[in-house]
């Protein structure tokens, strides 16, 4: 059957220089069209600029939503981010789409740093991978139990030292 609703979201990370990242987010669906641009300072990952636009919406109130996004300037992409962003721009008097957009931008920043690590991992031997996994869990203990791959009964966690 044909679709009656379609949503397309894209988020892209681009280094500005060695001290910053630019993150573009766009949403286009049957009812809405919006965009966010944030700039993140490296290495502390503080959001130093944030702007948004709502180009199409069935609700007049959405025209004032972009102003909310400026509140995230000064927030760092780190632990507790979700609660902070939802508190600043979400909820019944906020904008759920731009809130999720900001969070998706921040997730993209983290994954921007993850890509090169995974590429390195693709060239390691099994033994080197095991060592890399141990180091990862030591430096990021929160990874343990974060998904099925790092669950206590996962084959990846049965290796000595993990």
């Amino acid at each position: 059957m044909t679709l009656e609703f379609m949503r397309n979201k894209v988020v892209e990370v681009e280094p500005i220089d060695d001290r910053g990242l630019s993150v573009h987010w766009r949403l286009k669906d049957s009812m809405l069209e919006a965009g966010i641009l944030i700039k993140v300072r490296v290495p502390d990952l503080e959001i130093v600029e944030a702007e948004a636009r709502v180009d199409r919406s069935p609700h007049e109130q959405c025209a004032s939503a972009p102003e909310l996004v400026k509140r995230i300037v000064g927030v760092r992409v780190s632990q507790g981010l979700r609660k902070i962003v939802r508190g600043l721009i979400g909820g019944a008097s906020g904008c759920s789409e731009l809130t999720e957009g900001v969070l998706e931008c921040c997730t993209a920043v983290i994954l921007h740093y993850t890509v090169p690590q995974i590429r390195i991992g693709e060239r390691l031997t099994e033994e080197q991978l095991l060592e890399a996994r141990r180091a990862l869990l030591e430096s990021n203990p929160r990874m343990a139990g974060s998904c099925i791959a790092f669950a206590p009964d996962s084959p990846l966690m049965q290796e000595p030292g993990l």
């Binding site: 009656e4 990370v13 669906d29 049957s30 008097s93 099925i148």
Partner: protein, 159 residues
Amino acid sequence: MITFSRSMLVGGEFLDETTVRFHGILEDHIYAMEIQMDVRIPDGVIAAIEGSMKRYTNPVCPRAVDVLQDAVGVSLREEGWASRIYREIGRKGCQHFAEILIECGRCMDLARMAHDLTPTIAGDPAASTTELANAWLQEHPEVQGSCMAQPTRGSGGAN
């Protein structure tokens, strides 16, 4: 140069007046996966779900496909449904499956609005989408109160 990019695509297919089927696809530099989820419109309950992983980072990841079944029975109307999905599908399965599922769930009311307004707009393309959307919100109290654009009826916001 862009060093990381993620695309998320959600499609809403109305199987009948009581069921909407969501097709959700995620593709980025690291991961590629998709789900198909049937939701009962009257109560927002996830009635069926299936998924597949196309690109992932280690051989254990595909086990998360079976964990998707724990979403069956969750209602998109229950308070904290997204947090529940992050916990039960994300932490016990795959965070990215959870992200797709939540995105599909978040499209539920917009998809319903699009479905309900399409016949009117098709017959009269000059009709005001804003007026039609406000009228739709008045008729759907279950959607009110979720954000600034959908205030609770009687609060003086959208009316």
